[in-house]
């Protein structure tokens, strides 16, 4: 069953074409990897899907609903959420509040109820609270819930960022270079963690990554981008042997 269908996505950055004619049909429960050298348009693609930038041309259907042109928060409520290449937590807020912020779109009470702490407020807040506590416990961060996010070590900040994304109750999770700055042992842990998360939360995941080991290790399907254009789409084995990829991506890497 198709969850996300992108067709003809094109995005210009002042004359420069950051993404050209990107097409994708993503099934539920897939774990898709996107690779490509720096500047290939991977993050731009995420920005388009999440509504940060608006595609110049093309359409993206998520569960058969158009998302191009919608605001980021609408898209989150529809069930797409992402993490960031450089961690972007709410630094001065506590771990718990970082999680609770992400419940914004899932809360049903009106501003008036919020101002008066009346009506559905209490019940909903209790629910958010319980959900957040469970989530933190599941991520083994329950004991840290009162800590300010900025005080966490790097690895825990990454973990919190994923937990925060999951608090929005997404169907599709976009991970932007989750393994950046990790040593091989941590990458192994991360691979387990991503697999576990996908299973536990029933997610579909798109992953941008430079660490080939991670991508090849957990993705069953990989798309390779170069200069905004899709140059290959297939299983890890196919990608590894694809001449275009070798030339554009691995070739470049070898030179480096």
């Amino acid at each position: 069953m198709t969850l996300l269908r992108a067709s003809g996505i094109t995005h210009f950055f002042g004359g420069l074409c950051a993404v050209t004619d990107f097409n994708l049909s993503l099934d539920r429960d897939e774990l898709l990897g996107i690779i490509g050298p720096n500047g290939a348009g991977k993050t731009t693609l995420f920005n388009i899907i999440t509504g940060v930038c608006r595609a110049t041309r093309g359409s993206i259907l998520f569960r058969d609903a158009e998302i191009v042109g919608k605001s980021p928060d609408r898209i989150v409520r529809m069930g797409i959420v992402r993490t960031f290449q450089n961690i972007r937590l709410f630094n001065e807020l506590t771990v718990l509040d970082n999680i609770r912020v992400a419940h914004y779109g899932r809360v049903r009470y009106t501003p008036a109820e919020a101002l008066l702490h009346a009506g559905r407020y209490r019940e909903e807040e209790r629910r958010i609270r319980r959900h957040s506590d469970e989530l933190l416990a599941l991520f083994r961060m329950g004991h840290l819930s009162g800590e300010r996010a900025k005080n966490l070590p790097y690895g825990l900040q990454k973990r919190l960022e994923i937990a925060r994304a999951l608090a929005t109750e997404p169907e599709l999770l976009l991970l932007d270079e989750p393994a950046a700055g990790m040593n091989p042992r941590e990458v192994d842990e991360l691979m387990d963690f991503i697999r576990w998360t996908q299973r536990e939360f029933g997610l579909t995941i798109i992953l941008i990554e430079h660490q080939m080991r991670l991508v090849m290790g957990i993705c069953r399907r990989i798309i390779a981008l170069d200069f905004g254009a899709t140059i290959a789409d297939g299983t890890p084995q196919e990608i590894q042997t694809d001449p275009a990829v070798l030339e554009a991506y691995l070739g470049e890497k070898a030179v480096r």
Binding site: T50, G51, V52, S71, P72, D73, V76, V81, R82, R88, L89, F90, N91, E92, L93, T94, D97, R100, V101, H103, Y104, G105, R106, V107, Y109, P111, A114, L116, H117, Y121, R122, E125, R130, D133, E134, A137, L138, F139, R140, G142, H143, L144, S145, G146, N151, L152, P153, Y154, G155, L156, K158, R159, R164, A165, T168, E186, E189, D192, F193, W196
Partner: protein, 352 residues
Amino acid sequence: MGRAFLKKDLTGKERSQGRWVLPVFLVSGSVLSFAIPHFDLLDQYIQLILVYLGINIILALSLNLVNGYMGEFSVGHAGFMSAGAYIASFLTVKVFPAGALAWAFPAAVVAGGLGAGLLGLVVAIPSFRTRGDYLAIVTLAFVMIVKSALENIDSVGGARGFLGMDKLTTLPWTFFWTVATVWIIRNLIYSRYGRGVLSIREDEIASGLMGVNTRHVKLIAFVVSSFFAGVAGALFAHVLQFINPRMFDIIKSTDVLVMVYLGGIGSIAGSILGATAYTFLLEALRPLEIWRMVLMPLMLVLLMLFRPRGIMGLRELPWLEPAADRLSSPNGLNGLRNSRGANGFGGKRKDE
């Protein structure tokens, strides 16, 4: 003030202490607010200062919502205040019958707040597109526009000012509105909108990408903030019994800014403290005459150097937080903690 007083490491047990402070304060405060003027427990001068104090708390707290909690830099508070002052005064003087002022006054105050809130809506819209310094300019220009407009409206006296208001702002009313402001703004902060406000301060883009409707949140924050600025203006007009456009110039805005940043951004207790310190110091330093105005900014600069976020920056008195927000959750974390869960990645706790 000791650390125990400002607990920031949140352990449930200590948080639950001091719960009695709030109810005791509310009850004794409301009794006193009636008793003081009735039995003349304090002289008129101190009563007047207490009224100013209430108004200043309302102003500081409402500005803190936008500047401290949301992290914008608005200097438009004087404009909202003047809107509230003029609307309420116009109503009590020219519209409501003189005999009905007892019930009409609260209505006038609310109307003043609503009028200011409406202006807040207008100012919020540019905040969708711009932030920081550009928004500061928008609000600065807003203050000048409102002042200039008022100078040109002859039916409210133009530059000569508007008068004829009765002294309707009593101590009980001041107390009521101060408590209402603290309560409602606290409620807002400890709701999903309040967390949205905080997340905008921390990282607006990430906030939107975590599902926060940033436009909606900004609108609410601006409207609530300007509503209470309007309320403060209405109360102010009915204690001075005279208003003119010049009272609400950019200097007034900077006074409120000083209160907010003195007391501490992102803290209700901070705003209360900042407004209190400001109001009382201004009066207590009177014997210094001109040097009072030299000393005050100097103290502000020194405070900023040693406490850049203000006295209570980003911290809160525990008994101002709602009971439901306490960290000791009914489920008990320990039960959940190690039952099942991620084979964590990402290293150890910092303190291990």
